[in-house]
Amino acid sequence: MKRLLLLFVFSLWVAPMQAAIEAYQFDSPEMEADYNQLIDELRCLVCQNQNLSGSDADLARDLRRETYQMLQQGKSQQEVVDFMVARYGDFVLYRPQFQSNTYLLWLGPFLLLVLVLYLVVRWLRAADKPVEVDAAAMAEAKQLLEDNESHK
C-alpha cells in the first residue's frame, strides 16, 4: 500500500541545502523504498525547512540512522513515524496526520471547490432558464401600449 502511495503521490522535492549521502545496504528494494520515502517525509528539526534526506546536519544523520535501524529490525513505516512523533511532535512530519486540528487543512480546499462549483453551476443554470412571463402583466402592458397608440 505504501508503495502505491509513493507511486501515486509525485515525490517532488528539493533539498535547499547540500545533500548528505550514506551508502546504506538494504535487505530488499521494498525496504529501500520505504526508507527513502520516510526520510523524504521526515523533517530535519535543526534545518531551515529541509527533509532528512536533504540535510547534512548531525541530527539528520542520527535520525536517518535511527530510521534505517528500525526498518532493519522489521518495524513498519507507521511505527517509525510514531517513534518520531512521540519524541518530536507533529512538527517532524511533512505529511500532516489527519487529526482534529488538520481537518480544515485536508478537507478545506475540496469543500471550497465543491461549494464554489455548486454556486456557479446554479447561477449558470438560472441564466439558462427562459424568463417566465406573467400573462396578466403582459396583457396589461399590451393594453397600455394600445391606449398610448390611440391617444396619438
Binding site: 528539493v14 547540500q18 549521502i21 546504506y24 511533512y94 480544515l104
Partner: protein
C-alpha cells in the same frame, strides 16, 4: 562618495514617487489637466533616480568598496566579475533595491508604451504604481538601506554565498521580479478602472499585454529556480513547496487565471468583477510573498531576512495597499454589471471553471503555507510539506488537463452537448488508445503515468484540432494573415503545459536513484547504463578548492560514452562545503552523479547516482509556455485600435 550619491538618489526618487502618486491622482479626480500630464515625466524621473541609486550600488561592488556594509557582507575581491554584478541582488537590501528598480522600469514602460490608453486612465495607473514605489522606497530608506557604511572599512569582504555563485541563480531573481513586480501593472489598471468605473473590454484589452509579459517572466523565473535547485543542490529534486517557492508560485497561478479572465472580459464584457479582483489578488500575492520571505514568520532556506521589525513594516504596507484595494473593490464592484449572460455550456463558462480550479488550487497552497502559523498561534506545532501540497495541487488541477482541451474547441457564448460530444468522441478515444500504446513501452505499468500521458496527448490533439478548425476553411496564406498572434500564444501556452505534464509524470514515476559505496574501479548498472568510478583528485580554482571524482558512463549497447566529474568544493572564505553534481543532460533522460563522503582509506566514496527520464521536459514546457506568453503579448490587436479607443475615452470620464 558614490554610496552617498546613491542614498541621495533614493531619497529624491521617493519624493518624485510621492509626487507621481498624489498629483496625477488628484488631477484625474478633479479634472486638472496640468496635474494629469505630470504623471509621465514623474514616472520617468523616478526611473532615472532609482537607476542612479542602483548604479551606485553596483559601482560599490565592482570597485570592491568594503566600507559599504552590504558590499562587505556579500562580496570579495576574488569574486568573479559576473558575481559581483549579480551579488548586488544577493541579499535582502540589494534585492529590495532591485525590486524598486524593476518597478520603476515597469512604470517607465507604462509611461512610454501606452498610446492607446486615455490620458486620465494612464495618469491613474501611473499614480497607483507611484504609490507602490513610495512604499518600497520608504521601506528601503528607513529599514533596509544598502548604502549603510561600515566604518572602519573591512579589509576584505565575506564573499557572496557560494550557492549564489552560479549563473542560473544569478538570473533567477531578476526574472522573478520582472514577473511578479510586473503584476503591479495589471493591478494598477484594475484599481484605476475601479476608481473610474470603467471596467470593460477596453480596459481588459489594455491590461492584457502587460499581464502576459509579466506572466512570461514569472514563468521563466520560477523555471530557472527549479532548474538551478536541481543541478546545484545535488538532490535531483526540482520543487520542494518551500514557503518562498510557494510565494512565487501563487502569483503565477493567479496570474494564469487573470490572463484567461482578461480574455473573457475583453471578448464578452463579462466577469468584470472577477477579473478586477484577480488582478488585485495577483499583485497582493506578490506582496504577500515579499512579506513571507523577509519577516521571519515562516522557516525557509530561501528566506532573505528573518526580521520581525521589517515584517511589521511590510505587513502594514500590505494592509494599506491590499486592504485599500479590496475596500475599493467591495465598494465599486457592485456597480459592474455584465451586459451578457453566461450559458452553462460555453467557452465563457469553461474559462470560468478554469479560473475556479486555479483559484482553489492557489488557496490550497496558501492554506498549507500559512497553516503552521495558525496552529502555532493556538499552541500546537505542525509542518506542512510536499506530501500535502503534491496531493492537493495534483487533484485540484487534474481536471484542468481535460478542460484545456475542451476549452480550445468549445464555442463562445453557447454550445451544445451534442456538438461537443460529436466533435470530441473520436479524439478522446484516439488519445486513450495512443496513451495506452505509449505507456506499454515504458519499463512497467503505472496508472498515474498512463493518465498523465493521456492528459498531455489530449491537450496536443485538441490543439491540433483547433489549428485544423481555423486553417482548413480558407487558403493557408489568408488564414496566416488573419490569425492573431494571440492564437499562437494560446497554442504554445497549452502545449507548454502538455510538455510539462509529460516531464513531471515520467520523471517522478520512473526515476531511479541509488546511494551506494563505490571504490575506484567499481561499476554500477542502472536503466541500461554502466557507471564506472575512477577515484578522486584535488584542485585549486578561483576562490575554492575542489575534490573532483571521475566517472565514465557507458550505455549497455556500447554506442554511448561520457565522462562525468562531480565535485565537492570548499570555498575559501565561507568554508562552506558544496556539492557540485555532474549531469549528463539529454532530451529523454538525465544521468546525475553526486559525491557524498569518503568512506575509507582505500578511496571508496559514498556516491549518489540518478537516472531521471524526461526531466528536461519540465523546464522545456515552461520555456514553451513563456514563448506563448510572448506571442500573446505581441498581438497586433492591442496596438491597432489607438484611434477608435481614444475617441471614446472622453465620454467615460463623468463616472469619476
Amino acid at each position: 562618495m558614490i554610496p552617498e550619491l546613491g542614498q541621495f538618489a533614493l531619497i529624491i526618487a521617493l519624493c518624485v514617487a510621492f509626487t507621481q502618486a498624489v498629483v496625477p491622482l488628484a488631477g484625474a479626480g478633479l479634472g486638472v489637466q496640468r496635474w494629469i500630464v505630470l504623471a509621465v515625466p514623474a514616472a520617468l524621473a523616478q526611473l532615472l533616480f532609482v537607476g542612479i541609486a542602483y548604479a551606485c550600488l553596483t559601482w560599490a561592488f565592482l570597485s570592491n568598496d568594503f566600507s559599504v556594509l552590504y558590499v562587505a557582507k556579500n562580496s570579495n575581491s576574488l569574486l568573479p566579475l559576473i558575481y559581483k554584478i549579480s551579488g548586488v541582488w544577493g541579499a535582502h537590501e540589494g534585492s529590495l533595491l532591485l525590486w524598486s528598480l524593476v518597478l520603476a522600469l515597469w512604470t517607465g514602460a507604462v509611461a512610454l508604451f501606452t498610446p492607446n490608453v486615455p490620458r486620465v486612465m494612464r495618469a491613474r495607473v501611473l499614480a497607483i504604481l507611484g504609490l507602490v514605489s513610495c512604499g518600497f522606497l520608504l521601506f528601503i530608506i528607513v529599514t533596509s538601506n544598502p548604502f549603510e557604511r561600515l566604518l572602519p572599512a573591512a579589509a576584505q569582504g565575506s564573499d557572496l554565498n557560494p550557492l549564489l555563485q552560479d549563473i542560473g541563480l544569478a538570473i533567477h531573481p531578476p526574472m522573478l521580479y520582472l514577473g511578479y513586480v510586473g503584476f503591479s501593472v495589471a493591478f494598477a489598471f484594475s484599481i484605476a478602472a475601479l476608481i473610474s468605473g470603467q471596467v470593460d473590454s477596453a480596459w481588459a484589452r489594455w491590461s492584457r499585454p502587460w499581464t502576459n509579459v509579466a506572466w512570461l517572466f514569472l514563468t521563466l523565473g520560477i523555471a530557472l529556480g527549479s532548474w538551478w535547485a536541481y543541478y546545484e543542490l545535488g538532490w535531483g529534486g526540482w520543487w520542494f513547496w518551500d514557503p518562498v517557492e510557494n510565494a512565487s508560485f501563487m502569483p503565477w497561478i493567479v496570474g494564469t487565471a487573470l490572463m484567461h479572465s482578461l480574455a473573457i472580459t475583453e471578448k464578452r464584457g463579462s466577469f468584470k468583477a472577477w477579473t478586477a479582483l484577480l488582478a488585485i489578488f495577483a499583485f497582493a500575492l506578490s506582496l504577500l510573498g515579499t512579506f513571507l520571505v523577509r519577516s521571519g514568520v515562516l522557516t525557509s532556506v530561501h528566506a532573505f531576512a528573518s526580521d520581525p521589525e521589517r515584517g511589521v513594516f511590510i505587513l502594514g504596507f500590505l494592509v494599506l495597499v491590499v486592504g485599500g484595494s479590496l475596500t475599493l473593490f467591495a465598494w465599486r464592484a457592485p456597480l459592474l454589471r455584465s451586459a451578457v449572460q453566461t450559458r452553462l455550456l460555453s467557452r465563457d463558462s469553461a474559462l470560468l471553471a478554469n479560473n475556479i480550479f486555479l483559484t482553489v488550487a492557489c488557496s490550497a497552497i496558501l492554506l498549507g503555507t500559512l497553516y503552521p502559523i495558525a496552529i502555532d498561534a493556538m499552541g500546537g506545532k505542525i509542518s506542512v510539506g510536499p506530501p500535502y501540497f503534491n496531493l492537493m495541487f495534483l487533484t485540484l488541477t487534474a481536471p484542468l488537463g481535460v478542460l484545456i482541451g475542451i476549452g480550445m474547441l468549445i464555442r463562445w457564448k453557447s454550445d451544445s452537448l451534442e456538438r461537443l460530444g460529436a466533435k470530441l468522441k473520436i479524439p478522446a478515444l484516439v488519445v486513450l488508445v495512443l496513451a495506452l500504446l505509449i505507456s506499454l513501452t515504458l519499463p512497467y505499468w503505472i496508472w498515474t503515468a498512463y493518465l498523465g500521458i493521456a492528459m498531455a496527448l489530449w491537450i496536443a490533439v485538441t490543439a491540433g484540432m483547433a489549428i485544423y478548425e481555423r486553417f482548413h476553411h480558407r487558403s493557408l496564406l489568408s488564414t496566416l494573415r488573419s490569425t492573431p498572434a494571440g492564437f499562437y500564444g494560446m497554442l504554445l501556452g497549452h502545449l507548454g503545459i502538455a510538455v510539462f505534464i509529460v516531464g513531471v509524470t515520467l520523471t517522478s514515476l520512473y526515476n531511479q536513484e541509488k546511494d551506494l559505496r563505490m571504490a575506484p574501479g567499481d561499476v554500477y548498472k542502472v536503466a541500461g547504463y554502466e557507471f564506472t568510478f575512477h577515484g578522486v583528485r584535488d584542485f585549486n580554482i578561483d576562490n575554492y578548492v575542489a575534490t573532483r571524482g571521475g566517472f565514465t558512463v557507458r550505455s549497455e549497447e556500447g554506442d554511448f560514452k561520457v565522462d562525468l566529474f562531480p565535485e565537492k568544493r570548499v570555498y575559501l572564505v565561507q568554508t562552506m562545503p558544496m556539492t557540485e553534481a555532474a549531469i549528463d543532460a539529454g532530451l529523454t533522460r538525465d544521468l546525475f552523479i553526486a559525491l557524498g563522503e569518503p568512506l575509507d582509506k582505500e578511496g571508496a566514496w559514498a556516491v549518489r547516482i540518478y537516472y531521471k527520464p524526461f526531466i528536461r521536459w519540465i523546464w522545456l514546457g515552461a520555456i514553451i509556455m513563456a514563448l506563448g506568453g510572448l506571442f500573446a503579448a505581441s498581438d497586433r490587436r492591442y496596438r491597432r485600435l489607438a484611434r477608435s479607443t481614444s475617441s471614446s475615452s472622453t465620454g467615460v470620464e463623468q463616472l469619476s
